[in-house]
Symmetry: C2
Subunit: 336 residues, 2 copies
DNA sequence: TCAACGTGAGAAAACGTTTTCTCATCATTT
DNA sequence: AAATGATGAGAAAACGTTTTCTCACGTTGA
């Protein structure tokens, strides 16, 4: 009707094999009845001419596009990238491709992307963000396709996947204890962040009722400042610091070095996020809590697939465990 | 045939309006002949029932999927993310969506992704990577769809877009000169990187025949070490350092601070990449060369669109200009 | 009054698949 | 030798659009 392409279609194969398209289809899909030599001949011809079925035509027929949309407003990619690679990895095995939709924080742009995805008949949408306690600037409820929220706030009754912040905090404290630390403090981000609060609560529960938690910005500068405060008074200084993210940890480590305090000999430091570009390049390299975002992504991918294929999935918030990545900043790393 | 969906189709609209599907199609697309009241009535009914044409069906008809594939092996996203957002931004206006294919460095995975994209009839493929002088582990020549290489090595005769490294180096030197620096050195990455070499050449050309270029790793540690070398001998110390990336610059700035050398009062520093997470958080914040990757992405998006729609595009390597982002590490930032 | 023409709208084909149904042909059984 | 059954393969419909073609009807002009 419009532009004719030169791609080889099932009709070309049929013509080359001297049979009908139905026969070709059945031959290639191993369905229907037919002489096995016919089947083999068709298969070999199809391979010869390089036939690959047009996925669009199949999608139209099956009402399945084998495509999902990934909505994100994380521009740094710190959280989205591992998530994305997990999703992609899990889905590519099932022949499912991922539409990437970066929506910044623009509701209009988000709507454009969502509409485009729906028009293209995505089998589902994974919503993800840069912050667990904020939702994307678009309402995904009542869409004709399933939605999974990963690392972003979802509407009640939906499927929501996040990392278990409490678990992460517990892992950190456990480790600090294991290397013999007694005076442990927590330097973290603003208490307006739910994850900061959850980690802080778990931290207090693990360390004890009068555990010290210091809230500030998620920056190196705050790490510096916190050290100045901790070492500035006449109170006993800590021997273990659990930091709310790797940037804070980096600030803490640098500030301690400037003070001549040795890490990890005098003080053990544990970060959070395992953002390699920070964790790896800090001296000493950071022992840090990894939120397993790639695994989270993989789970999100498999979950949206379950939903797309009509399998039941339990709704609600599901928290996935963290893991500790041991480098040098906490000590005890050579004991193994 | 298989799963029936509940989405509203053009047939539903036709039924609701009491006309044929052809009439609906023509009404909504403002084509064909028909009483203008019929047209308006149909439009209003279509809007009421929330009809949106199935893009798959149109794609099949037009042989255009309004979809492009983005192939990348950059896992950190430093280069890919801005590129991606530029591509997406440029394309979403044209109703084109982007398949994200993260292929690590795995040829098999790359092939799987490319095949999946071709099956899904992408209108084109944008290849991008983490390094300008390395190609992706897959051969994209001879594909039935156009390919644009952005920030990665492409085959001869193809369309290749990169940032102009020489331009970036010139911008940096120019700026250092402008703030009065006379003894300018260049601390950069390994000379096995083409971009390092190109920048170094342009640097030499701008500064003079005996300009000092120091090659090392792309790391903070190398920045530190370079400062130690520069300030360690009995030679005259530089008053301006152009660094090959922001991490090196960060290392240089930190090392100078430890030495008591003031930045930018005593020495001006300029970085490369404008990786905000580094440039913004270094104290003082880094003046740095931005490769305009978002713009590069935008250009790549529009170029693949041109090719997909059959417009002629000049093949070959096209270098896009850089820009200087002025923060505090070079000085002269308050003069405006 | 009849031909020519313009207008509005629908039928059908097409895009590339898959699947159901039908139908020949040939072998087997009575 | 005739009826039954099994087997192989094709015709047609379907998915949701768009576009070309056709046709009926009403209006205009001679």
């Amino acid at each position: 009707m419009v532009a004719r392409s030169n791609r080889v279609t099932i009709h070309d194969v049929a013509k080359a094999a001297g049979v009908s398209v139905s026969t070709v289809s059945k031959a290639l899909n191993d369905t229907g009845r037919m002489a096995s030599e016919t089947r083999e001949k068709i298969k070999s011809i199809a391979a010869d001419v390089g036939f690959r079925p047009n996925a669009l035509a199949r999608s139209l027929l099956f009402n399945r596009s084998f495509t999902v949309g990934l909505l994100t407003n994380d521009t740094y990619g710190r959280f989205t990238l591992p998530l994305m690679s997990g999703i992609s990895e899990a889905l590519v095995d099932h022949g499912v491709s991922v539409f990437l939709c970066a929506i910044e924080d623009d509701p209009a742009l988000a709507k454009v992307h969502v509409d485009a995805m729906l028009d293209k008949q995505v089998d589902g949408i994974i919503a993800t963000g840069k912050r667990v306690d904020r939702s994307l600037p678009v309402d995904l409820a009542g869409l004709p396709v399933p939605v999974v929220y990963a690392f972003t706030e979802g509407v009640p009754g939906s499927v929501i996947l996040t990392a278990d912040d409490s678990d992460g905090a517990r892992l950190a404290v456990e480790r600090l204890r294991k290397v013999g630390r007694k005076r442990i403090v927590h330097v973290t981000g603003p208490d307006s962040f739910v994850s900061a609060v959850e980690r802080a609560d778990a931290f207090r529960q693990a360390v004890g009722p009068d555990a010290l938690v210091m809230h500030g910005a998620w920056t190196e500068a705050w790490g510096h400042e916190a050290v100045t405060m901790l070492w500035g008074g006449d109170k006993e200084t800590p021997d273990g610091i659990f930091c709310g993210n790797d940037q804070i940890a980096r600030g803490v480590v640098d500030a301690l070095r400037e003070k001549g305090v040795r890490v990890p000999e005098d003080v053990s430091i544990i970060g959070f996020d395992n953002w390699e570009i920070f964790a790896d390049q800090t001296r000493p390299a950071l022992t840090t809590v990894d939120m397993n975002l790639k695994e989270l992504g993989r789970t999100a991918g498999l979950t949206i697939l379950d939903l797309a294929e009509g399998r039941a999935v339990e709704a609600g918030l599901r928290k996935l465990p963290c893991k500790l990545v041991v480098r040098q900043s906490c000590g005890g790393d050579r004991e193994i």
